[in-house]
C-alpha cells in the first residue's frame, strides 16, 4: 500500500478502501478496528460458495483531524460491489456508536474543551446497498446505521464522502443523504435505484444507462452540488478530501446542522418545494434544472474542470 505522503496526491477515485481510510486522517494516526488479521469474514458467503474477504469489504478505524478524533468507515467497491451484509454492516454501526461513546468520554474528561476535541464520523461510501446474499441482515444494518445517525444529531457530525468507482446507490443512497454533510469529487455519484436497474425496469427511453454523460448529469456530483445535495465539491485527490474534512471537523454544531438536507419540519418543507418545482416545470434533463437556478449555459457545465465549475456555477438558494 502507498505511504501517506504518496496518498495525499493520489486519486481518491482510484484508491482502495484502506488507502482512503489511512489518507483521510492526519499522517500516521490511523488505527484500524477488526483489521484483516482478525479474519472477521462473512459466515453466509462461505455457505453459499462465494469468495470472502478478511475485512468483509469494509475498513473501519479511528484517526485524527487536528485535535478531533475522526471515526472512519471506508467501503471497498471491488469486493461484491461494496454491498452491505451482516459483518460489515455491524462494523459500520459499531464504529458510529464508538464515536458517540468517545464523545461522551471527552465531554466528561474535558468539559471546557469539547468543541476543540469533538469527534466526527466520516463514511467513504462505495456501495450498491444491501448485499443480496445476506439481505435481511443487510437491511437491518441500514436501519441501525440510520438509527445511529439520529443518536449523533447535535453531538457528533456525520460526514458522507462519495467519490469512488461504484458510487453510492441503493439503500446506502438514503443513508448518505441522511448525514449532516456531503463531500464529493466530480466522479462521485449518489442515487437510489442504479442507472442499469432503471433502464432494465422502465426501458431505455426512460433512462439510457449506457449514456455516461446522462448518468453523470443526473446522479453526479455537479448536479448534486447545484441542487444543494452536496455541500463540498473537491478535486479528486485524497489530500483535498483530507483538507476539507479538517475544515468540517472545526465547525460548530450549529454550522453543521445548517448543512443538512433532512431531519426537521423546515427541511421537509424545503424538500417539498423542490418536488413541487419539478412537478411544475417537468424538466426533461438535469440541465433544465440548472438553467432554472441561474446557469445561463448549462450545457457547458459538465465540461468544466472542478475549479472552473466552482468559480462559475449558480446553486439553488437555501433559506
Amino acid at each position: 500500500m502507498k505511504k501517506w505522503s504518496e496518498l495525499k496526491d493520489s486519486s481518491f477515485f482510484d484508491a482502495s478502501a484502506r488507502e482512503r481510510a489511512v489518507g483521510l486522517v492526519d499522517k500516521g494516526t490511523f488505527t484500524e478496528f477488526l483489521h484483516p488479521l482478525d479474519r472477521y469474514c462473512s459466515p453466509h458467503l462461505v455457505v453459499l460458495g462465494q469468495a470472502v474477504e478478511f475485512d468483509d469489504g469494509m475498513v473501519c478505524g479511528v484517526g485524527l483531524l487536528g485535535r478531533h478524533p475522526a471515526f472512519i468507515i471506508s467501503m471497498e467497491g471491488r469486493f461484491i460491489g461494496g454491498a452491505i451484509g451482516e459483518v460489515n454492516g455491524a462494523k459500520m454501526v459499531g464504529a458510529i456508536r464508538l464515536a458517540l461513546t468517545a464523545a461522551k468520554e471527552i465531554k466528561a474528561k474535558y468539559p471546557g474543551e469539547y468543541e476543540a476535541k469533538r469527534p466526527l464520523v466520516v463514511i467513504s461510501f462505495e456501495t450498491g446497498g444491501v448485499r443480496l446474499h445476506e439481505s435481511n441482515a443487510g437491511l437491518l444494518a441500514h436501519a441501525e446505521v440510520m438509527d445511529a445517525f439520529q443518536d449523533c444529531r447535535h453531538i457528533v457530525p456525520v460526514v458522507s464522502v462519495v467519490g469512488s468507482k461504484v458510487g453510492c446507490f441503493g439503500g446506502m443512497g438514503f443513508v448518505a443523504a441522511a448525514a449532516d454533510v456531503i463531500v464529493m469529487n466530480e466522479q462521485g455519484r449518489i442515487g437510489l435505484t442504479g442507472p442499469e436497474v432503471i433502464e432494465q425496469e422502465m426501458g431505455k427511453e426512460e433512462f439510457d444507462a449506457s449514456n455516461k454523460a446522462l448518468v453523470y448529469r443526473t446522479t453526479g456530483a455537479k448536479h448534486k452540488y447545484i441542487i444543494q445535495d452536496c455541500n463540498y465539491l473537491v478535486e479528486d485527490t485524497i489530500g483535498d478530501f483530507h483538507k476539507v474534512l479538517g475544515e468540517i471537523a472545526g465547525k460548530s454544531m450549529e454550522e453543521i446542522e445548517k448543512m443538512r438536507r433532512i431531519g426537521s419540519i423546515d427541511l421537509v418543507r424545503e424538500q417539498q418545494e423542490l418536488v413541487k418545482l419539478v412537478g411544475d416545470m417537468q424538466p426533461k434533463d438535469s440541465m433544465d434544472v440548472w438553467k432554472h437556478f441561474g446557469n445561463e449555459n448549462p450545457a457547458a457545465l459538465p465540461e468544466l474542470s472542478t475549479a472552473e465549475f466552482l468559480k462559475t456555477v449558480k446553486r439553488r438558494a437555501r433559506s
Partner: protein
C-alpha cells in the same frame, strides 16, 4: 456449493521470513485475491491456506505457491489467500507483490 478450503505445506531451503509480524495486500475482487502473510516458526517451512470458490484446481494452486516459495526463498511464513477466480499468473504476481510490501522499509 460451499467454498473450497485448500491447505498446503512446503519445505523451504531458507528460513528467511518477513520483517513485520504480519502484512496484508490486495482485495478479493473478481479475478483477484487478497494475501495475508504472517511470520510463523514453522521450522523453516511455509504453510498456505487458500479459500476459493473454484473447484478442481488444487494441483495448480500447489504448483503456483511452490514456485513462489522456490523463487523467493521464503521460510517460516504462513500464507493465507482469499481468492475470487484469479488466474494462476495473477496469483503468482500478487504473492510477489505481498512479499515486496511485507519487506518494504517504512521509509518516511
Amino acid at each position: 456449493m460451499a467454498l473450497q478450503v485448500l491447505e498446503f505445506n512446503f519445505k523451504s531451503a531458507a528460513t528467511q521470513s518477513i520483517p513485520k509480524e504480519w502484512s496484508h495486500t490486495g482485495v478479493t475482487g473478481s479475478g483477484d485475491l487478497e494475501v495475508l502473510l504472517e511470520k510463523k516458526d514453522l521450522g523453516g517451512g511455509v504453510k498456505a491456506k487458500v479459500v476459493t470458490p473454484v473447484k478442481g484446481f488444487d494441483a495448480v494452486w500447489e504448483k503456483m505457491i511452490q514456485k513462489f516459495v522456490t523463487d523467493t526463498g521464503v521460510g517460516n511464513l504462513s500464507i493465507e489467500i482469499n481468492d475470487d477466480n484469479a488466474t494462476p499468473i495473477v496469483v503468482y504476481m500478487r504473492l510477489r507483490q505481498a512479499l515486496a510490501e511485507a519487506t518494504a522499509k517504512e521509509a518516511e
